[in-house]
Each structure stands twice: as structure tokens, then as C-alpha cells.
């Protein structure tokens, strides 16, 4: 056996040894997702078959049923609320985080802790105050109410995440930009902001997932018009039992846009998680 084929076989063995466990781990974590997608394509008979079927005659009946219901409207609500709230949180959160990172404020630590504390209460503790508040100002069952409430949670997270990112931008780089003739806004926009794009992408994904997932607040604060998808999934709980095929198809359609967004920004996400190698 010559040397080059030995290398090939060695790298082949190496690859198998690497990808086999990686594949198993991915399969383990992705299994619920795979199961969901599969269930969405199953006939009711196949859903409960035991042992579980991995090979079956796929059907689009579940998707047809979901598309003909008013569920898609609630997916639209979910996406609008999630995107607007994420955008608002990121604009406000980025500016706030930059301020905390670059300027010294009196009571800075207390302020930062206060912002963090917005996330500390369990949602259940604030549901009724929110409900009463929105009822008083006539915002129950509106998308605006959900956007506002979600933004409170999202801003808190965004500020903390992005402050870390801004702290990593060397001060000398900003000083250089000032000497190059830029004012505070120019320095922020042309130097600091582009360098924290990974952080912004990370914040956007987390914010959107958070809002799309949220059930409790949406359940209490909406009735009909502003219902979001997680709440609407309850409709698949019929007097005749759970419509697993329908729920799976509905969930898949809710997961899809979020997944697409995450894939679009994945390059930044990876950099966002391995930050610190700015040089």
C-alpha cells in the first residue's frame, strides 16, 4: 500500500470518527423537530401506530386542513408582532447598550441591574397587571399591546447582550475615527455599529424566537383579532381529541419562517458566538 492511499484511508477513518458522533448528537437534538415534520405528513392511522412508522404513505391532508382554517392569519400576527418588537428592541437596545458601554453615567450599575430585573419576574406575576392596564387604555386584543409587552422583555436582553459586544470594540479605534474627522454619530454608525453586527443578528434571532414562542401573555391579552399562532394551536384540541396531524402541520409552518431567518443570518450568528477575535 503506498503512502497516499494510507493517508486517504486515515483521513476517511478520521472523518467517520468525527461525523458519526456529531451526526448522532444532531439527530438526538433534532429528533422532536423531525418527528413533528413527519407527523404533519401522516394519515391519522399512522400517527398512533405502534411501533412508530418511519416509512409511510405521505399525505398533504393536514396542511390542506390547516391552510383552509383561520390559522394562517394567526401566524401572520405572530410574525408581525415578533418582527416589529424585535426591530424596536434592537434600535432602542443598541443605542442604550452603546451609551452604557461608552459613557459613564451616575448610578450606571443600578440602571443596568434594573434593566436586567425586567426579565426576572415570572410572566405569570405580571399578567394581570398588564391585562388591567391594557383594558384601561383599550389595547386588549391588539397587536400593539403584544408588541409593547414583548419589547420590554426583548430590550432588556438586547441591552445586556450588545453592551458586551460594544465593550469589545477597542476605544483606540473610536479615537482614530474621531481624529479622522467623525463626530459621535459618525463614529457610532461607521465604526462601532458595523463591528457589532454579529451581536445584532444574535439578538434578532433570540428576540424573534422569544416572541413567536410566547404563549401565556398572548393567551390572556388577546381574544380574537390579535390571537397569535401558539394560542391558535389550542384550536386543534377538539372535543373529538387532539388533532396531532393538524398541530404538527401548523407548528411546522410557524417554525419555518423563523428557521429561514436563522439560516439567513447564520454567518453572523457563528461569529456572534465566538466573539472576541476582532483583530
Amino acid at each position: 500500500m503506498n503512502a497516499s492511499s494510507a493517508t486517504v484511508s486515515r483521513t476517511l477513518v478520521g472523518r467517520v470518527l468525527w461525523y458519526l458522533p456529531v451526526g448522532l448528537i444532531v439527530l438526538f437534538f433534532a429528533f422532536p423537530l423531525i418527528w413533528m415534520v413527519m407527523t404533519a405528513l401522516k394519515q391519522p392511522v399512522d400517527v398512533f401506530s405502534s411501533p412508530p412508522k418511519f416509512v409511510f404513505a405521505p399525505t398533504l391532508d393536514n396542511y390542506k386542513r390547516v391552510l383552509s382554517s383561520d390559522y394562517m392569519g394567526t401566524v401572520g400576527n405572530s410574525i408581525v408582532v415578533a418582527v416589529v418588537s424585535a426591530a424596536f428592541s434592537i434600535v432602542l437596545g443598541t443605542l442604550t447598550a452603546y451609551g452604557f458601554s461608552r459613557y459613564t453615567l451616575r448610578g450606571q450599575d443600578n440602571l443596568l441591574f434594573w434593566i436586567l430585573s425586567l426579565r426576572m419576574l415570572p410572566v405569570i406575576a405580571v399578567i394581570f397587571p398588564y391585562f388591567l392596564l391594557f383594558q384601561r387604555i383599550g389595547l386588549t386584543d391588539t397587536l400593539l399591546a403584544l408588541m409593547l409587552v414583548y419589547s420590554i422583555f426583548n430590550i432588556s436582553f438586547t441591552v445586556w447582550l450588545l453592551k458586551g459586544f460594544f465593550d469589545e470594540v477597542p476605544r483606540e479605534m473610536e479615537e482614530a475615527a474621531k481624529m479622522d474627522g467623525y463626530g459621535p454619530w459618525g463614529v457610532f454608525q461607521r465604526v462601532a455599529l458595523p463591528l457589532v453586527v454579529p451581536g445584532i443578528a444574535t439578538a434578532a434571532v433570540f428576540n424573534i424566537v422569544q416572541s413567536v414562542n410566547e404563549f401565556l401573555l398572548a393567551f390572556v391579552l388577546t381574544q380574537r383579532e390579535a390571537t397569535t399562532a401558539p394560542v391558535a394551536l389550542l384550536n386543534f384540541l377538539t372535543p373529538l381529541g387532539l388533532d396531532w396531524g393538524g398541530i404538527s402541520a401548523a407548528s411546522t409552518m410557524l417554525v419555518l419562517p423563523v428557521a429561514v431567518f436563522a439560516v439567513l443570518v447564520r454567518k453572523h450568528l457563528i461569529r456572534g458566538m465566538s466573539f472576541g477575535q476582532l483583530e
Partner: protein, 367 residues
């Protein structure tokens, strides 16, 4: 053209004064080097010129205009940072255009300037690279280029070669010196490296403890240091310092250190006496002013070789002279020096005309 004048500049951080009463002038077109150890306040002083340091007193005058209160962006100063501070999300080309865009330089003029700088720094083929794709030396040139394209009134450089390896540093040093001469831009260059300061500067400003110790040409700083700090900072190997007592011998003044007695030149003797300080002084003797004596006499003494170190075409010989260890530098071709072994006896001869006398307490130069 533009002169930079510092008048009694004081800088303090949180009440701790790091620069005290610094005054000096960089003449128009001059390359001045600010040298000091780390923590001497040289970066703070530089930041006072850029406008980033909290000045508690004094004035910074650029081209006849007092810029003391002005924000950094208004001062028309370009700086090369030790860390380079390149914008990592911009290519070399974009890094260079960045200050030009701020100044609203027309596109055609931007192109012309970027091309010219790329030519000067031999970076034409690297214009579309990102800083992370460049070597340390190339990044350093990008940093200098970003300062060059602006055609500023003043250049400031904070240890710009500090991150390069020794060989590259020497090359970059001479390249920068000739570049600065061609451009004729007033330049203040900060370094902790005395050799770099000597090699580059037409004027050297020595800073220690936040106080300007001496301002002068490289030769003045070397031959005529103001105190023991400056004397010890410059020269490699550094100057020998010997504790000595002064004795009057008629008109002459003799400095005695262990077995060595040096009759000071009349002028020096007068100055030392005029200073009227105690008899306890420190003699400063550069290694190259010590030689091997042929026969005993004044200014000569017998010592024992402690160790010899050949360095290229020179040889360093450490000699035990009484209580003191004295280092002399001689030519390798001097066979007797080169063949010395530890514990050999050697007759050391000091050139009295080149002995410096310092106050032992304050370190100030007496003569």
C-alpha cells in the same frame, strides 16, 4: 508649515498628575522623538496634543493657533496608534478613504491620493484586502497610510514599530525616516527605545516621571546629558556610574573612585566647584571612552577582568575596579582585549576629557 508648541502642559487622571509642566517645541517639518520608559507619561503627553487627555494646565499651540480646548476632530492631526486601530470591517482602500470622506474630499481627489499613498508604501496590490488578511508589517503600513492620505498638519506616532520583530523594525525605521523627510510634515514620534530615538530624531525629548528631562539633538543628548537619567537611558551598553569623592589638588580638582583618580579638566573642575555641592559625586564614564592603558599614570588603575563578551566586531569587558564593576568596549581587532580571560589583570585608562560629573543626590549634571 506647522510648528507644535507645548507650554507648561499638565495632565492629571483622577487627581494623579502624570505630566508636569511639559514644555517643548517641534519645529515645522521636524521629526522629533519623545522617548521615555513605560509609565513616564509620554502617551499622556501625546494624548494632550490630540485632545484626548484631561489637561489641567498649560497650552498646546499648533501652527500659531491655541488648540487647547478644541475637540480632536478639529485639530487636523493624524495619528498612528501602537495597536494600529485599523477598521477591521473595511478594506485597505476603505480604511484610507475613511478620513477623506469625513473631510468631503471629492471622489477624483480621493482616488488620486489613495493611489499616491499606495505607490509610496508599495501597497497597490493589497488595496482590496482586509486588515486581518495582512501581515503585521503590512498592517503597520496601512496605519501609516491612513495618516498620510489626510495630508495633515501634524503626524503623531505612538510606538508604531513596537509590534514588529527586530529586523523588520530596523527596516521600517529607516523607511519611515526617509518618508518623513520627503513629506516634510511636522512629526512627533513616541518610543521607549533609545536606539530608535537616536536613529530617527533630529530632536529628542526625554521624559521621565511626567517631567521633561532634556530636549536636544541626538548628539547633545548623548554627549551632554542633563542628568544621570538621560545619561543612563542612552547608549548601549549603558554608561558606567562610579561613586567618587572630590579632592582639591592645588588648582586642579581630582575625582577619586576606589583605585581610580581622574584629574578633571579645568573647565569641568571650575563648574563642579561653582555648583558648591558636597564632595560626594557620581562619575559617568561611557564604555567606549575607557581603554587599556600602556603604563600606569593619572586616570589609570589596575583592575581584574570579571567577564568578557564578544559582540560582533566589538568586545565588552567587565572589569572589577575596587568595589565597582566597570564595563569597557573595545575593538575585537585589539588582540590583547580579545584574548583576555577572567581574573587577568588589566590596566584601565579613562579619558578625563570625556568624564561627566553628576550630583550624587539629585543626579543633576555638574560638569
Amino acid at each position: 508649515m506647522t510648528q507644535v508648541r507645548l507650554e507648561n502642559v499638565r495632565v492629571a487622571y483622577d487627581g494623579r498628575e502624570v505630566v508636569r509642566d511639559a514644555s517643548f517645541t517641534v519645529e515645522s517639518g521636524e521629526l522629533a522623538v519623545l522617548v521615555g520608559r513605560s509609565g513616564s507619561g509620554k502617551t499622556s503627553l501625546l494624548r494632550a496634543i490630540t485632545g484626548y487627555a484631561p489637561m489641567t494646565g498649560g497650552r498646546v499651540v499648533v501652527g500659531g493657533t491655541d488648540v487647547t480646548g478644541q475637540p480632536p476632530a478639529k485639530r487636523d492631526i493624524a495619528m498612528v496608534f501602537q495597536s494600529y486601530a485599523l477598521y477591521p470591517h473595511m478594506t485597505v482602500d476603505e480604511n484610507w478613504r475613511f478620513p477623506l470622506e469625513a473631510a468631503k474630499v471629492p471622489k477624483a481627489e480621493q482616488d488620486a491620493r489613495v493611489t499616491r499613498v499606495a505607490e509610496t508604501l508599495q501597497m497597490r496590490r493589497l488595496l482590496n484586502r482586509y486588515p486581518r488578511e495582512l501581515s503585521g508589517g503590512q498592517q503597520q503600513r496601512v496605519a501609516i497610510g491612513r495618516a498620510l492620505v489626510r495630508q495633515p498638519q501634524i503626524f503623531l506616532l505612538d510606538e508604531p514599530l513596537g509590534a514588529l520583530d527586530a529586523k523588520l523594525r530596523v527596516e521600517a525605521r529607516s523607511a519611515f525616516k526617509s518618508l518623513q523627510r520627503d513629506l516634510g510634515t511636522t512629526t512627533l514620534y513616541v518610543t521607549h527605545d533609545q536606539a530608535e530615538a537616536q536613529a530617527l530624531g533630529s530632536k529628542i525629548v526625554v521624559l521621565d516621571g511626567g517631567v521633561v528631562q532634556q530636549v536636544g539633538s541626538p548628539d547633545e543628548i548623548y554627549d551632554d546629558p542633563a542628568n544621570t537619567f538621560v545619561a543612563g537611558l542612552f547608549g548601549s551598553p549603558p554608561m558606567n556610574f562610579l561613586p567618587a569623592t572630590l579632592e582639591r589638588d592645588g588648582e586642579a580638582v581630582v575625582a577619586r573612585s576606589g583605585p581610580l583618580a581622574v584629574a578633571l579638566p579645568a573647565v569641568v573642575g571650575q563648574k563642579v566647584l561653582a555648583a558648591g555641592v558636597a564632595d560626594q559625586v557620581t562619575l559617568g564614564v561611557r564604555p567606549e571612552t575607557i581603554s587599556r592603558g600602556a603604563e600606569p599614570g593619572p586616570g589609570r588603575a589596575v583592575g581584574r577582568v570579571y567577564v568578557t563578551e564578544p559582540i560582533g566586531h566589538n568586545v565588552l569587558v567587565d572589569v572589577r575596579l575596587g568595589q565597582e564593576l566597570v564595563r569597557m568596549r573595545g575593538h575585537r581587532d585589539d588582540d590583547l582585549l580579545a584574548r583576555l580571560a577572567p581574573d587577568d589583570e588589566i590596566l584601565v585608562a579613562v579619558d578625563p576629557a570625556r568624564v561627566l560629573v553628576f550630583d550624587r543626590g539629585s543626579g543633576a549634571r555638574l560638569g
